[in-house]
Amino acid sequence: MNPTLSELEARASAPKTVFGGDAHIVCDNLVRIYKTEGVEVVALQGLDLVVREGELVAIVGASGSGKSTLLNVLSGLDVPTAGVARVAGMDLLSMTAKDRLRYRREVVGFIWQQTARNLLPYLTARENVELPIKLAGRVSGRAARGERAARLLELLGVGSRAGRRPAELSGGEQQRVAIAVALANEPRLILADEPTGELDSDTSEEVFEALRTANRELGVTVVIVTHDPLVSEQVDRTIGIRDGRTSSETLRREGAEGQIVAEEYAVLDRVGRLQLPRDFMNALDMERRVRLELESDHIGVWPVREEPSDEQ
C-alpha cells in the first residue's frame, strides 16, 4: 500500500540516524583530490571510518593507498575535498582557519615517521614539549609548563632525558619525546604516521608501549598508520585501506582459552558496497559479475558460471 502524504511528511521530518552516531572520529564518503597543473590525484575516494573514543586502532594499507592523506585530514593540516569528517563533534570541512588552529592546539596531537621531523633540533626534550603549550598560549606559568612536560616525559619513560637535545637521543627516545610533545596540550586524539617506521623491532616495541600507555593512562584515542605487523597485531582493531577506501577491518579479541583470536571482516559501506579481498577473487576467478544469494543467516557470493543452456 502506498504511503499517504502525511506519512511521507512524518518520515521526512523524523530525526535521521547520523552515520557513526556520536563516535569520536567519523569519516563518511570522504574524498580528497590533489590538483596540480595538469595532474589530478584522487587520494581518498569515498572513505568511511568510525572510531570510538578511547580506542587504539591501526590503519594499514599499501603505499599510496591514502593512509597519510587521511591522517593529514584528521590532524587538521589538510582539508578534504568532499564528504564528512568529524572529530570530537567538530566538522573538519566547515571549520574556519581559526577553528582549525584551535583544533590543532586542543583536540589533536600527532607524530610523524621521521624522528627528526617531530622535534626542533635546537631545543631540549623538555623545551620541545613546552613549545605547543606556549604556542597555544594557555594561561599557565613557567613552573606549571615545566611540571607538565616533566610529568609527560616521566610517563613515557624519558624523564631522565629532559635536558637533552634530539641529536643526543636515540631514535626510540626521540619518538617517545615526540609522543610527549603530541600530548602536551592534553589532546583527545593522537595520530601517529608510521611512528616506528625508522626503528628496529625492540625500539618499536618501546614506542608502541608508550602509545599504549598514553591510550590507557590518559584515555586518549590513538590512531596509528603503520606497515609494522608488530603494531597491527597488538591493537584491538586494524583498518585496511585500499585505493582510498576502507576495505577491511581486523578485530582481535581474547578467545576462551586466553589466546588472541583475529577475525578479518570486509567493510560494508552505507549503500551496501563491499570490497572483496583480491586473493579471494583471484582464487575463484571472479571478475566483473558475481551471483548473490540470500540465505537465512548469510549472503552467498558465487562466480558467474558460463552456462550456455541458460542463455538459450
Binding site: 596540480t36 590543532r104 621521521q114 621531523r117 633540533p121 613549545l131 604556542l135
Partner: protein, 871 residues
C-alpha cells in the same frame, strides 16, 4: 619559539644578512652625503669663482634732490640695518654681518664731466664707507673736508679727492691739481693724494672697478679715447655731495658668504632673492625707489642647469644601488626563512598561529637587520657631507623591507599548515593576469623610452624630469621580465638537440635549467639591474675619463706648451730641446693681426702643422695637415672666415694668404671667433713666442730653460689633474667606482645565495642520480649546466641593457659639467670594462657553482634517500 636558539642554528645565514644590511646602509646613507657634499662644494666653488658684485646683494637708490641726499655715514648705517632686518629667512643665514666680508656702503656719482674737456674726461666722486681699510695712500694725503672757491662769480664746493696712479698717468691728474666738474652745476675737485688698493685681488673691488682703474671708451666716430675715473672723497665730503645737480647713486652691499648656500636650497634662495627685491622696492626712500641688484639668482640657476643631468645620473645609479641592495637582502632573507622553514612548519603544525609563525620569521630577520642597520647608519656619519632625508630613510627602508619581506614570505609560506608542493611534477603555468601585467610593463617601458628619445627633456627641467628616472627603471624591469619569461624557450630547443646526443649530462642539466622555477626569478631580478647599472656606471665613468683627457688636450694643444708675451730667442728654444724628457719642440708664432685695411682683426698662429701633428701623436686631439701648397701662402681659416678666398693679413709685413681649408678649432689656442693657421715661414724673421713640446718633461725645468720670467708653461698633465680634482668630478668618479664595485659584489652574492638556495633541491636530484651511475664529474657538470644558462643569459642581457641605457636616455645625460665643460658624447669607447665586468661575473659565478658541487660531493649518496622526501 626560542628565537635566540633558532638564530644560533642559522648563524651563518644571519651573519650574511647582517653584513649585507650593514654594507647597504653604509652605502645608501653615505653615498648621497658624499654626492650632496660635492654638489655643495661645487656650488661654493662656482660662487667663489664669480665676482662679488654678482654674488652679493646690493641695494641701490638714486638721489635726485637735496631732500633725498644722505649726508652722514650714520644715515647709511641706519638704512643698512633696516635692509638687513627685512631679509627673508633663507637669506639671513647667508648674509655676513655688517662690516665683514665685502659688505660696505657707498655713494658715487656717474657721468661727471671735467669742465673744458669736451666731454672726453670724466672724474666721478665716490665715497666708500670702509675706504680707510681698503686703500693705502701712496702719495700726498687722505682727502679731508671740502672747502669752497669762487668760480665765475659763484661760490662752488671744492672736494678734496684722491685718485689712482693710473688716473695720474692716463688722465694727468697730479697731486695739487684742481679741476672743475659739471657742465651747468659746478663743483671743483682738488687732488690731494694718490691711492692704491690695499689688496687689489680682494673680491671686494669687483663692486668698484671704476675706482681702481681708468675706464677707456672709444666713442663712435672719434679717434681719441674717452676716460673715466672715480675719485675718492672723505666722510666729510659726503656732507657736500648732493644728487640735485648730478647723477648720484647710493649703494648698500650686503655680502653673501659664498660658502653658505647649499645646493638643496638653491630654488628656495632664488625665490627669497626675488621676494627680497620686492620688499626692498617697497621701502620708503623719499622720491626714488630702492632696487636690489644681484646676479645671485642667475648664478644659482646656471649652476642648477649644469648640475641637473649629473644629478639625474647620480640618482639613477644610487637608485639602482638601492634596488639591488634591497633585492640581495631579500634574497638573503629568502635563504634564512627557507633554512628556518622546517622549524616554522613544525611550529605551525603543532598549533602555532599564522601571526606567531610570521612573527618568528620576522623576529629572526630583525635579529640580524636591526643591529646592522643602525651600525651602518652610524658608519655613514664618517662620510663628510650634508644630511639628507635619504640618509635617515635609507637604513629605515632597508630594515623595513627586510623585516616586512620576512613576515610576508613566512606568512605566505605557512598560510596553510601543510604545503603540498607538487612543482616537482609540473611547473606552474603563468596566469593570464600575470602575463597581461608583464606585457603592460614591457609596453610602457618601450613606449617611455621612445617618448623620451623623441620628446627629449623640457628645457630647464632636466634632472627633475621624473620621466628620466622612471624610464630606465621600467626598462630594467621589462628586460628582467622578458629574460625570465623567455630564456627557457631557446634552452628547450637546445635540450631537444641534447636529447638526440648520446651523452646524458647535457640533456639532464639543460632540462633542469629549462624548468625555470620561481626560485630563479629573484636572482635574475637582482643580477640584471646590478649588471646594467654597473655597466652603465662604468660606461659613463669611461666616457667622463676619456672626455676629461680630451678636454685637457684641447686646453693645452701639446704635452707642454710655452707661451710668452715677448719673443723667445733661438738659444732658449735650443735649451728647451735639451731638457730631459723633451722629445720634440715645435716653435710657433701667435699674434692678433689686422685683416685687410679696416678694423677687423683675427688671431693667427704660424706653425709647421706636420711637426705639430707629431707632437700630438697618440693624443685624442689632432690638427689637420696643411694641404699641398698651390699658389700663394696657404691658410686654414675658422668657420667665420670661410669663403673669403684670399685674405690680406697685416703682420710683420702685409701678406696675402689663400684659404685652403676650414678648421673649427685649434687645440690649445682657438675655439671660436676669427682665426687663421698659416705656415711657420710666413714671416721673414720668425718671432717665436710659443713652443709646443712633446714629452713628459718637468714643466719647471722647461720654465727654467726658457729663461723668460714672463713666459708661461702649461702642461697637459696639470690641466687634466685640475679637471679631475674639481670637487664634482672627483666625487662622481668615486661614486661611480664605489657603485660599480658594490653592484658587482652584490651580483656575486646574489649568484652564490641563489646557488645555496637551490642546493638542497639539487643535492637531492644528484643523490637520486648517483646510484643510477652518475659519476662525480658528471654531477659537477650537471650543476654547472643547470646554473650557467641563467647566469650567461642574464649577464648578456645586463650588459646589453647597461650599454643601451645611455643611448635610451639620450638627451637626458649630459656630463659636460664633469669634463671641464666639454660635452661628453658617444659613450661607445669603453666596451672593454663592461664586457670584462660581465665576463668576470659569469666566471666567478661558474667558479662558485663548481665549488658548490665540490662541497656537496662530501654528502654521502645514500643520505638523501634515507632522509626520505621532504615536506
Amino acid at each position: 619559539m626560542k628565537i635566540l636558539a633558532l638564530a644560533r642554528v642559522h648563524l651563518g645565514a644571519l651573519a650574511v644578512l647582517a653584513l649585507l644590511t650593514l654594507s647597504a646602509c653604509v652605502l645608501l646613507a653615505g653615498l648621497p652625503r658624499l654626492v650632496q657634499g660635492s654638489f655643495d662644494a661645487a656650488l661654493h666653488q662656482s660662487l667663489r669663482g664669480a665676482t662679488a658684485s654678482q654674488v652679493d646683494l646690493a641695494v641701490r637708490v638714486e638721489s635726485r634732490s637735496r631732500q633725498e641726499d644722505l649726508r652722514e655715514p650714520s644715515q647709511f648705517a641706519a638704512r643698512d640695518q633696516r635692509f638687513r632686518s627685512i631679509l627673508p629667512d633663507p637669506l639671513r643665514g647667508l648674509v655676513l654681518p655688517a662690516g665683514t666680508g665685502t659688505g660696505h656702503m657707498s655713494a658715487k656719482t656717474w657721468g661727471t664731466p671735467v669742465r673744458g674737456s669736451g666731454g672726453m674726461t670724466y672724474v666721478n666722486l665716490g665715497w666708500l664707507s670702509d675706504a680707510g681699510r681698503r686703500v693705502r695712500w701712496t702719495e700726498g694725503r687722505a682727502p679731508g673736508a671740502p672747502g669752497t672757491m669762487n668760480h665765475q662769480g659763484t661760490t662752488i664746493t671744492v672736494f678734496e679727492v684722491a685718485v689712482t696712479e693710473e688716473a695720474r698717468d692716463k688722465m694727468r691728474l697730479r697731486v695739487g691739481d684742481l679741476r672743475v666738474l659739471g657742465e651747468s652745476d659746478h663743483v671743483a675737485v682738488r687732488v690731494v693724494g694718490l691711492f692704491a688698493a690695499a689688496d687689489p685681488a680682494d673680491r671686494y673691488w669687483s663692486h668698484h672697478p671704476d675706482i681702481l682703474r681708468v675706464t677707456e671708451v672709444q666713442p663712435p666716430g672719434k679717434l681719441d679715447l674717452e676716460r673715466h675715473t672715480t675719485a675718492l672723497i672723505s666722510d666729510a665730503g659726503l656732507t657736500a655731495l648732493s644728487g640735485e645737480g648730478r647723477n648720484l647713486r647710493y649703494s648698500w652691499v650686503l655680502p653673501v658668504d659664498p660658502g653658505a648656500p647649499t645646493s638643496l636650497g638653491v630654488s628656495e634662495l632664488t625665490g627669497a632673492v626675488t621676494a627680497y627685491g620686492r620688499v626692498v622696492g617697497l621701502q620708503p626712500g623719499g622720491g626714488s625707489q630702492y632696487r636690489l641688484e644681484t646676479g645671485l639668482p642667475q648664478l644659482l640657476t646656471g649652476f642648477l642647469a649644469a648640475l641637473s643631468t649629473a644629478r639625474t645620473v647620480m640618482f639613477l645609479v644610487l637608485g639602482g644601488l638601492l634596488a639591488v641592495s634591497v633585492g640581495v637582502i631579500m634574497l638573503a632573507v629568502h635563504l634564512l626563512t627557507d633554512r628556518a622553514g622546517e622549524a616554522l612548519t613544525l611550529a605551525r603544525a603543532r598549533g602555532g598561529s599564522l601571526r606567531q609563525v610570521a612573527g618568528t620569521g620576522a623576529a629572526l630577520v630583525a635579529l640580524a637587520v636591526v643591529p646592522a642597520a643602525p651600525a651602518g647608519y652610524a658608519l655613514s656619519w664618517l662620510v663628510p657631507g650634508p644630511v639628507l632625508p635619504i640618509v635617515h630613510a635609507g637604513p629605515a627602508l632597508v630594515c623595513g623591507a627586510a623585516v616586512g619581506f620576512a613576515a610576508v614570505r613566512t606568512a605566505l609560506a605557512h598560510r596553510a599548515p601543510l604545503r603540498e608542493r607538487r612543482d616537482d611534477v609540473a611547473a606552474a603555468r603563468p596566469s593570464a593576469g600575470r602575463i597581461t601585467l608583464e606585457v603592460l610593463v614591457v609596453g610602457l617601458a618601450l613606449g617611455g623610452a621612445y617618448l623620451l628619445r623623441t620628446r627629449g627633456l623640457a628645457a630647464g627641467t632636466a634632472g627633475d624630469d621624473p620621466f628620466l628616472l622612471v624610464v630606465p627603471l621600467a626598462l630594467t624591469v621589462a628586460a628582467a621580465l622578458v629574460t625570465i619569461r623567455c630564456y627557457p624557450y631557446p634552452l628547450r630547443l637546445i635540450v631537444r638537440l641534447a636529447a638526440r646526443g648520446r651523452r646524458a649530462v647535457p640533456f639532464l642539466g639543460l632540462t633542469r635549467a629549462a624548468r625555470a622555477r620561481s626560485g630563479s626569478v629573484l636572482p635574475v631580478l637582482i643580477l640584471l639591474p646590478a649588471l646594467a647599472v654597473s655597466v652603465f656606471a662604468s660606461v659613463i665613468a669611461d666616457g667622463i675619463a676619456g672626455t676629461q683627457r680630451l678636454a685637457s688636450w684641447q686646453d693645452t694643444g701639446a704635452s707642454l706648451r710655452v707661451t710668452s708675451p715677448v719673443e723667445l730667442p733661438a738659444d732658449a728654444v735650443a735649451r728647451v730641446g735639451a731638457v730631459p724628457g723633451v722629445e720634440l719642440v715645435v716653435p710657433a708664432q701667435t699674434a692678433s693681426v689686422q685683416l685687410g685695411y679696416g678694423g677687423e682683426r683675427a688671431e693667427v698662429i704660424a706653425v709647421d702643422l706636420g711637426r705639430w701633428r707629431r707632437v700630438l701623436d697618440g693624443a685624442p686631439v689632432s690638427v689637420p695637415a696643411m694641404p699641398a701648397a698651390g699658389s700663394g701662402v696657404p691658410a686654414l681659416v675658422s668657420p667665420e672666415l670661410r669663403g673669403r678666398g684670399t685674405l690680406e693679413v697685416g703682420w710683420q709685413t702685409r701678406v696675402k694668404v689663400t684659404e685652403r681649408g676650414v678648421v673649427t678649432a685649434v687645440p690649445g689656442f682657438f675655439a671660436r671667433g676669427k682665426f687663421l693657421v698659416v705656415p711657420y715661414e710666413i714671416n721673414e724673421r720668425a718671432a717665436v713666442n710659443t713652443l709646443l713640446i712633446r714629452g713628459d718633461a718637468d714643466p719647471r725645468a722647461v720654465a727654467r730653460a726658457v729663461g723668460q720670467p714672463r713666459a708661461q708653461v702649461t702642461s697637459q698633465a696639470a690641466a687634466l689633474a685640475a679637471i679631475e680634482n674639481a670637487p664634482l668630478t672627483g666625487t662622481v668618479r668615486v661614486v661611480l667606482l664605489v657603485t660599480t664595485v658594490a653592484l658587482a659584489g652584490y651580483a656575486l652574492v646574489a649568484v652564490v645565495v641563489a646557488l645555496v638556495l637551490g642546493a638542497a633541491d639539487r643535492a637531492r636530484a644528484l643523490t637520486f642520480l648517483r646510484p643510477l651511475g652518475l659519476t662525480e664529474r658528471q654531477a659537477r657538470g650537471l650543476t654547472m649546466l643547470e646554473i650557467l644558462p641563467m647566469i650567461l643569459v642574464t649577464a648578456l642581457v645586463g650588459l646589453a641593457l647597461g650599454l643601451g641605457l645611455p643611448a635610451a636616455l639620450g638627451p637626458g645625460v649630459d656630463l659636460s659639467a664633469y669634463a671641464g665643460g666639454v660635452a661628453v658624447a658617444g659613450y661607445s669607447p669603453g666596451l672593454v670594462t663592461p664586457a670584462l665586468l660581465a665576463a668576470g661575473l659569469a666566471a666567478v659565478a661558474a667558479l662558485g657553482a663548481y665549488a658548490h658541487t665540490v662541497i656537496s660531493r662530501r654528502r654521502a649518496p645514500g643520505a638523501a634517500l634515507r632522509a626520505g622526501e621532504l615536506v
